[in-house]
Structure formats: C-alpha cells, structure tokens
C-alpha cells in the first residue's frame, strides 16, 4: 500500500477509504504527516528563508534577482515604503544635493532619541531642573554623553537646515512645481528655531533664564496682542492677559514658564514638526523626486533601448 506516502495525500483520505479506515492506516498517516513536518523543519536549517517563520515576518521573497521582488522589498515594508521604490541614479549625487535634507532629518532623529532618554532623569520644576542637569552630567552613566549629543545635534540641525535651504536656492529647487514645498520648508525652519529656543530654558540656568526673559519681553511689543505694543492697551491687553502671558503662563518667567517650555519642546512642537515633515517629504515625491541635474545615461543602456 503506502510505501513512501505522497505529501499531498497524507492530509486527506486516499481513494476508496472511508472515515472508518483501520487504526493502522490512521497511525501511518499521522506518522507520515509528522515526517513531512520534520522535513519542512529540516529545510529551515539549510535556508531560513524557506521557513514559515520567515514568510510570516517578511511576507515577500527577498530574492534579489527578480526586479519585482526588489521593488516589493521596499513597497511592502512599513519603514521603507515611504521611500520611492526606484529613484533616479543621480539622486544620490552628493555634489548636487549635499544630502543636507537627509542629514537634518537624521539629526532630528538623534535629537528625539537622546531627548527621550534625557527625559528619564529630568523634572521640569524649579526645584529640580538645574540639579537634574548636574545629576545627568555626574551620576548617570553616559548622561554627560547624551546631554552633549543633544546639544551638539541641536546646533548642527540649525546649521544643516540653513545649508539645505542654501543648496535648494542654488539649485533652483524652489521653482515650479516646488514652490509650496519651499514654503513648508520655511515653516520647518521656524519650528527648528523654536525647538532650540524652548529647549534652551530647560536647564533653568542663567543662560536660559535670561534668554527667555529677553525673548518673551519682545512679545510684549506685539501689535494688538502685546500689552506694550501698538493698539494693545486699547484692546484691553495688560501684562496679565497678553500674548506674553499666554506664552509664560504668568507675568514672570517662573515655574509655569518652565513647564510650558518643556511641553512645547518635547511634545507640542515635535508633533507639529512631524506633520510638516510628512508633508515636506510627500511633496518631494509628488513633485518629481529629489531635484537633480539631467540624468546620466550609460552607453550600454542607450544600446539596449535601440535593441528593443
């Protein structure tokens, strides 16, 4: 009867058998299906990509010889599918793009990561803030490194944003159809600077305190919304209800100002910036990809086109 059972048949009844097949045959079937599962397992040790575990995680084949698989590897990945599956070869020409947009985004990721870690040791209160920074510097393993990385990344991000904008101007990448994306980028610049400003107050040291004092004192002079600005007093603005009061949560730079600065810095502005970044990157895709010079074509590719 069954010598080496066909894998396809072990799961169902063979011809002519009813459900009341003999015990022996049922045991044999059970044993052979076990054997098939064992063979399946053993295949996995030779090539992990054949196992069901792999297929469940990755879903698509990662065999790079098939162009469809190479596209699918990007398109079906939650982290990568935001990238286009194909880009112009010259999109990676650093002499043209400088890579500054990408570097700025990378610095944003670094700032987010280091910032979250720093949050584990920081209390946004007048009693603790300054001490917490000292604690990070001296008592927390790698605290000094993280704090300095955060500070350096912040400064560098402003610089790389500026270099990115400079490059965009020099390459005319603000021209049609990219005008709106330029405007989104300007908003992102303002958000970057606001992140720097709100973060500056958090150590609650002399530098931060006076920087915020000066900055918010300027807000007093806002037209119509400031208690010392044109038309402000006429509209009922006083130091206790004007835009400066709204920023500080009070009329002085004190514990409310620190807390608000903390929330703007860690949650409010990053959320808004993330939305604007999403739009900014999306518009790059939709406006024709990263801007670059006319594409370079290899002679071999010209010939292939003619051939076809």
């Amino acid at each position: 009867m069954a010598e080496t059972p066909d894998p396809k048949e072990t799961k169902q009844l063979t011809d002519g058998e009813t459900s009341s097949s003999s015990m022996i045959e049922r045991i044999r079937e059970g044993g052979s299906s076990l054997k098939d599962r064992a063979i399946e397992e053993a295949k996995g040790y030779k090539d992990p990509q054949d196992t069901q575990l792999w297929k469940s995680i990755f879903r698509v084949s990662h065999d790079r010889s098939d162009p469809r698989n190479r596209s699918l590897a990007v398109l079906s990945n939650v982290f990568l599918h935001l990238h286009p599956a194909k880009i112009n070869r010259d999109a990676v020409r650093y002499p043209f793009t400088w890579g500054m947009g990408g570097i700025t985004f990378y610095l944003f990721i670094v700032l987010t990561f280091t910032g979250v870690l720093l949050m584990f040791y920081y209390h946004p209160t007048k009693a603790d803030a300054f001490k917490d920074i000292l604690y990070l510097e001296h008592d927390v393993p790698f605290g000094k490194l993280l704090r300095n990385m955060h500070r350096w990344a912040a400064h560098l991000m402003v610089i790389t944003t500026w270099l990115h904008m400079f490059r965009v101007v020099l390459t005319g990448s603000y021209k049609r159809p990219r005008e709106f994306n330029w405007c989104v980028g300007v908003v992102l610049l303002v958000l970057t600077l606001l992140l720097s400003f709100t973060g500056y107050l958090l150590p609650d040291d002399q530098l931060g305190f006076w920087a915020v004092t000066v900055g918010t004192n300027m807000a007093r002079a806002t037209p119509m919304l400031g208690s010392e600005g044109p038309f402000g007093p006429q509209l009922g603005m006083t130091p206790f209800n004007d835009v400066r009061f709204g920023l500080l949560g009070g009329s002085i730079v004190d514990s409310n100002a620190l807390l608000r600065s903390y929330i703007w810095h860690c949650i409010g502005i990053p959320l808004v910036a993330s939305i604007f970044m999403a739009v900014h990157f999306w518009r790059i895709r939709k406006d024709g990809g990263i801007s670059g010079p006319a594409p370079v074509v290899l002679e071999s590719e010209i010939k292939a086109v003619k051939k076809k």
Partner: protein
Amino acid sequence: MDSPANQELSNATTPQGDPVSSSAAQPAASTKPAAPPPAAKPPAKAPGAIVESAPDPPVNKMRRRIVWSAIAASLIAYFLMFLRFFLPRTIFEPSSTFRIGALGDYALGVDTKWQQQYRIWVTKTSDRLFVIYARCTHLGCTPDWKASENKFKCPCHGSGYDSEGINFEGPAPRPMDRAHVELDAEGQIVVDIARLYDWPKGEKNEFDEPGAFIPL
C-alpha cells in the same frame, strides 16, 4: 584578430532573435578597451550625455565581513550603553543600613520601637536576637503586633504570624523575612534591610545562618 571586445561588438551588431541574449551581451559590450578611462565623465558637456563605466571589481568578501562586524559590534556597544544609562550611580534615598542601639536595650519579646522609622520589629528570645522585616509575605502590607494575643496580624487579608514571625493562618505563603544583623566595634546592633533572610515553604531555612541573628 578577434579580440574579445571585437567579437562582442560583432555579436551586438548582428541581429539576434533572442532579446535576452542581446541584452546579456550589453553589459560586457559596455567595456571597450579603446574607451576613455573609467571615470564616468560625459565626453560631451551637454546634459543627458552618454558615459561609459568600468566593470564592477570582484566582490571583496573579507571587507564586507569586516564592515558588517564593525557595525554589529557598534550596535551591541550602543545597546549596552543604553541599558547602563538606566542605572544611576547615586540615589537620594535613606541608607539601607542603620544602628538600633545595644543588645542590652531590648527586653525579651517583640519591640515595636523602630516600626515607624525603619519598618522593623526587634525580637529577643532566650538564645538570640533577630530583626523581622515588617512586610507581610502575602502582598506586602505592614502587619500589626497584637501583644495581647501574642501574634502579628495583617490588616489587609488576615495573615497571622506567631511571636517569631512564623506564619500560621491566612494567605501568607511563608514566614516574614528577617534582616541582616551584626554587632559593630562599639557593640551597637547594625541592621541591613537590603539583605534579607527568608524561609520559603519546603526550601532552605535561612533564619539560622550567621547573619540572620545575634546569638546571646
């Protein structure tokens, strides 16, 4: 003479019925010995100019392994640093060791004088002095010492312990733990609640170990 390049050239120009083979011949045909050096510079300066490129050099497996190992080593190092970051070197909590006077300060039985300050009871029997850590072994409440009934009773779920802290009723799974005690140079009793001795049911009884009591 038929140099390989010339042969490929002639292959490329004679019509081949199979598009696959003709396109397969192209990557080889792209390298012409007479071509300019492989700098990928367009011969004409106009945009969209045609360039040629050299063939890819053979894969350097050792270099790839070194790079991937360096990346893996860095990531592992960063991960270890990440874990270490969460364990500060100093904290601002009361010390776990403290002094509670001399042996002679305590009478036989249970003394509750340090319960509020240190969460301990000092128990003196005929042959030893030991310190019970006042934490119910059920869910961690602080039991009460009922002197009139000569037992500890936990108000949370009713666990009962005898005058030496051994559980006899209620949901407590084991006796209350005892703290490390020793005498210092001046004869003062030093207690360390970071080092506790326990007696889980069916396991080793640590209450007779040298640090779990002071013999009288």
